[in-house]
C-alpha cells in the first residue's frame, strides 16, 4: 500500500506559478511509525510520500526525485541497508540524503554500518516530532535552494538561447531583406533596360520604314516604268536586308569591311572569284558606316553589271582599302576590262545616292571617274564619323 499526499493541496491555478515543493519519502513497514512521521512532518507544507516496503520505495525512486528519504532499517525482505545500497548505486538517486529510522541497535557497530551504507543522519524511534521536523526541514531547505539555483541557471540558459535565436533571426531577416532589395533593384534595372531596348527598337523600325519609303519614292522618281521599278526597288531593299543580316549576326557591333563587301557583292563573288577582288587589311566599321557602304557597294555593282566592267564576260572589279595614320579610310572601286564609260547626261539616282552616302552619311568625299574599261570611284571617309574627312586633312596640313 502506498499513499502520496500533499499536505496542502491548493485549488488549481489559484497560485501561479505554484511554489515548488520538495518531496519526502517515508519508508517503514510499521504503520504506526509512518503515521507518527507523517503527523510530525505535515506542517512543513511539503509533499509526503509513504512506502511500506523497500521494493515500494525503490519504485517511487524510479520516477520521482526526493529532498530526503526517511528509511527504516529493519524491514522484512529488503532491509534499509539494502535499499540504501540501491539508492547509492543509481546515478539518478545517489545524491538523495538518507536518514535512517531505527528503534534498535543503538550500539556503535550498527551506527557505523548505517553511515557506511550512505546515511547522513540517524533518528531513533519513537520519533521526537520536533527533532525529526527540524532535521527534515534542513534537507527540504537545501533541496529547494538547489532546485531554485538550477531553475535560475536553466532560465538564464533559456534566455541566452532565446537571445541567440532572436539575434540569428534578425540577422537572417536582414539578409533576406537585403537579398530581396537587391533582387528588386535588379528587376527594376532589367525592366528599365528592356524599356530602353524596346524604345530603341521602335525607333529603328520607324527609321527603317522611313528609309524604305524614301528608297521607294526616289527609285520611282528615276525609274517610273513599273517593271523596272519593282526590279530595282526590290534589289535595293534586298541589299539593305543583307547588310542588316550581317549586323544582326554581329549583334550590331563592329563589322569587317571585307564582310560588308562580300555580303553586298556575294552574288558576283560566288559566280567567279576572279571577277571581283577584295584587297585590304582587317578593318572594323560601326553599323552606320556598314549600312552606308552596303548601299554604296550595291549601287556600284548594279551599275557595273549594267554599264561597266561586269557587263561583259571578262571585265574585273577590284575593291581595295587602306587606313591612314590619322584614321582616314581610303576606299577604291576600280573597274578594268569593261567597256569605256562616259558620264551620264543626267545624274541618276544611283550615283547621287553613292555621293550622298559618302558625303552626308560618312562625312567623307567621293570622286567618280568614267573612263576606259569602266568606272573608277575614289572614296575617303573618317573612321570616327564625328570628325569630317576635311577636318582630318586640315589637321594634317597644320
Amino acid at each position: 500500500m502506498s499513499q502520496t499526499v500533499s499536505s496542502d493541496d491548493p485549488p488549481p491555478a489559484s497560485r501561479q506559478p505554484a511554489t515548488p515543493k520538495a518531496k519526502v519519502l517515508i519508508v517503514d513497514d510499521d504503520e504506526r511509525t509512518t503515521m507518527a512521521v507523517w503527523s510530525a512532518l505535515e506542517q512543513l507544507g511539503q509533499t509526503l510520500v509513504v512506502a511500506n516496503s523497500g521494493e515500494e520505495a525503490l519504485q517511487h525512486l524510479l520516477h520521482d526525485d526526493f529532498a530526503v528519504i526517511l528509511l527504516d532499517v529493519n524491514m522484512p525482505n529488503m532491509d534499509g541497508y539494502e535499499v540504501a545500497g540501491y539508492v547509492r548505486a543509481r546515478k539518478r538517486t545517489r545524491h538523495i540524503p538518507i536518514v535512517f529510522l531505527t528503534a534498535l541497535y543503538r550500539d556503535d557497530t550498527h551506527l557505523l554500518q548505517a553511515y557506511s551504507a550512505g546515511a547522513v543522519d540517524m533518528v531513533f524511534k519513537p520519533v521526537d516530532p520536533l527533532i525529526l521536523r527540524s532535521k527534515v526541514q534542513v534537507f527540504v531547505d537545501l533541496y529547494l535552494k538547489q532546485a531554485e539555483i538550477s531553475r535560475e541557471a536553466e532560465l538564464r540558459h533559456r534566455l541566452q538561447e532565446e537571445n541567440f535565436r532572436v539575434r540569428a533571426e534578425k540577422l537572417s531577416t536582414e539578409q533576406a531583406l537585403r537579398r530581396s532589395q537587391e533582387h528588386q533593384e535588379a528587376m527594376a534595372k532589367a525592366e528599365a533596360h528592356q524599356r530602353t531596348l524596346i524604345e530603341e527598337l521602335n525607333h529603328r523600325v520607324k527609321n527603317m520604314l522611313t528609309v524604305v519609303n524614301a528608297m521607294a519614292r526616289q527609285t520611282l522618281a528615276s525609274t517610273p516604268e513599273p517593271e523596272l521599278f519593282s526590279e530595282k526597288f526590290i534589289r535595293r531593299i534586298d541589299a539593305l536586308g543583307r547588310t542588316h543580316a550581317l549586323l544582326s549576326r554581329e549583334q550590331w557591333g563592329m563589322v569587317q569591311m571585307a564582310d560588308i563587301a562580300r555580303e553586298s557583292l556575294g552574288h558576283y563573288l560566288v559566280e567567279d572569284k576572279t571577277r571581283v577582288v577584295l584587297e585590304g587589311p582587317p578593318l572594323a566599321l560601326d553599323p552606320k558606316t556598314a549600312v552606308a557602304l552596303g548601299i554604296v557597294f550595291h549601287e556600284l555593282a548594279t551599275n557595273a553589271v549594267k554599264h561597266g566592267a561586269l557587263s561583259n564576260i571578262s571585265g574585273t572589279v577590284t575593291v581595295s582599302w587602306a587606313v591612314s595614320e590619322d584614321q582616314a579610310v581610303a576606299l577604291q572601286w576600280q573597274e578594268n576590262g569593261g567597256p569605256d564609260v562616259s558620264p551620264p547626261s543626267r545624274a541618276g539616282f544611283g550615283s547621287r545616292l553613292v555621293k550622298l552616302e559618302l558625303t552626308h552619311e560618312l562625312n567623307g568625299e567621293v570622286e567618280l571617274i568614267y573612263g576606259r574599261g569602266g568606272l573608277s570611284v575614289t572614296m575617303g571617309f573618317p573612321l570616327c564619323g564625328d570628325t569630317s574627312l576635311a577636318e582630318l586633312k586640315q589637321g594634317i596640313a597644320q
Binding site: 525607333h203 522611313t210 519614292r217 552606320k288 548601299i295 545616292l353 550622298l356
Partner: protein, 126 residues
C-alpha cells in the same frame, strides 16, 4: 509667295535627307542643306536665314535641340521629325509641331505650309 521660302533640312540619314530635299523642291521650296549635324546646321543658318526649319531629332550621337534653341530665339518656326513620340522632346519644345517617321509627303508639306502661314501672320501683325 510661300513657295519661294527657304527650308532648312537637318537629317543625318542620307536617303531620308535626299527624299526630304526632293519632296520640298518638287513643292517649289528652296532647301538649305540638307545638313547632317548640328554643327553643319549652325554654320548654314549663319550664312542664310531659313524661313522654316525641319529638324530630325536624333543626329547620330547628338540631337537637334541646340539648333532648335538658336532658331526659336530668332523666331524661326521649327518642325521636328522623329520616330519617337512627343513625350521624348524636352519640355521647351514639346508644343512644337511634330511630324512622325515614317512620314507621308502630304503631312510633311502641310506642316511646312502651316508653319510658314503662322510666320507670315506674325510678321504682318508686327
Amino acid at each position: 509667295m510661300t513657295n519661294s521660302a527657304r527650308i532648312l533640312v537637318v537629317e543625318d540619314e542620307a536617303l531620308i535627307a535626299m527624299d526630304l530635299q526632293a519632296l520640298l523642291e518638287d513643292a517649289g521650296y528652296r532647301v538649305l542643306g540638307p545638313a547632317n549635324s548640328s554643327a553643319a546646321a549652325l554654320a548654314l543658318i549663319d550664312v542664310d536665314a531659313p524661313d522654316v526649319a525641319l529638324l530630325d531629332v536624333n543626329l547620330g550621337r547628338s540631337d537637334a535641340f541646340g539648333v532648335a534653341n538658336v532658331l526659336t530665339e530668332r523666331n524661326t518656326p521649327v518642325i521636328f521629325l522623329t520616330g519617337h513620340t512627343a513625350h521624348k522632346l524636352p519640355p521647351a519644345h514639346r508644343h512644337r509641331p511634330l511630324v512622325s517617321k515614317p512620314y507621308l509627303p502630304q503631312v510633311l508639306l502641310e506642316a511646312v505650309a502651316c508653319a510658314l502661314g503662322k510666320r507670315e501672320a506674325a510678321s504682318s501683325q508686327a
